[in-house]
Amino acid sequence: VFNAYFSLIRHLIVAYKLEPAGSHGVWGLDDYQFLPFLFGAFQIDQQASGIKPCEVLTALENSMGQNAHLTFLQAIAFVNRYKTGGAFSEHSPTLHSILVGCSGWNQIGLGPLKMHRAEVMEEFPVVQHLKFCEEFAFE
């Protein structure tokens, strides 16, 4: 379900050229999405698919083949397609350094998990519009 949602959003971003809301520019993972990287890293970690973080960028240049269903790779492939100004390491240095510097997917997933807390859920501009209900109670 989440993967379908992520695909829909990417589709909208391309179709209607949505502006990035509250982006951290090159300091963030991506201008638009966050959870695909978080969930995607744990997905690879748990499925033990065999692709290594440092192999992701080379996999993009070839066809992704059996890895095409992976959430993380779909998100990376989208960034790579959508941002055309310069090399991957130039337009997305944060993602690039994670992929080059980390050895395991578990490690890659834990980073965004902490980042998500700090940069999304504790960030005032992001959460100021949240509404609460019975199941999602404020107090």
Partner: protein, 164 residues
């Protein structure tokens, strides 16, 4: 749905104090809502190995997402616009109608609201992690209301279906 300004935390605080970002961030941080969402996301993250949408509820969501995606072909972007194509507004209002109709019962309308919020902002024509968060809230709350769909399956199992 309750706005932040209408919560009890705000009722107890004077106007000047409650409008500061620091107050809001701090009170949200301590709220059960925040804990619930953090747990939900962590649970999803550690349950990524299952790969099929197992419940009727999930299949219905997937079907509607498909429809929303197909709707972009009917509502073509207006030519020559740069960032923020105004055709998105038409798409968004049509999509909102469909989602609203997806939840016929009045007591589930707030779920529709969360889902609609997760599709980006129609007046600013933008999208960001706050909208993404709204989808997580929608899904997390829906799973609590699952009895409505008469399906007792583990929600985690349908978090990440393979989607071609």
């Amino acid at each position: 749905l309750v706005n932040f300004n209408n919560t009890k935390a705000c009722a107890l605080t004077d106007d000047a104090a409650k409008n500061t970002p620091a107050f809001r961030s701090l009170s949200l941080e301590k709220s059960p809502a925040n804990r619930r969402l953090a747990t939900f996301i962590a649970d999803l993250a550690s349950n990524q190995s299952s790969s099929e949408a197992s419940s009727e509820f999930c299949l219905q969501i997937l079907r509607l997402i498909d429809e929303l995606s197909a709707l972009t072909r009917e509502i073509a972007p207006i030519p020559h616009a740069r960032f923020g194509n105004p055709a998105f507004r038409d798409w968004h209002s049509k999509a909102a109608e469909k989602i609203d109709a997806f939840f016929p019962l009045e007591k589930h309308k707030h779920l529709a609201q969360y889902w609609i919020e997760s599709l980006g902002n129609p007046s600013r024509i933008d999208y960001g992690t706050g909208h993404e968060l709204s989808f997580a809230i929608f899904y997390s709350c829906s799973s609590k209301s699952m009895h409505y769909w008469r399906i007792g399956q583990n929600v985690m199992q349908c978090s990440m279906p393979i989607f071609p």
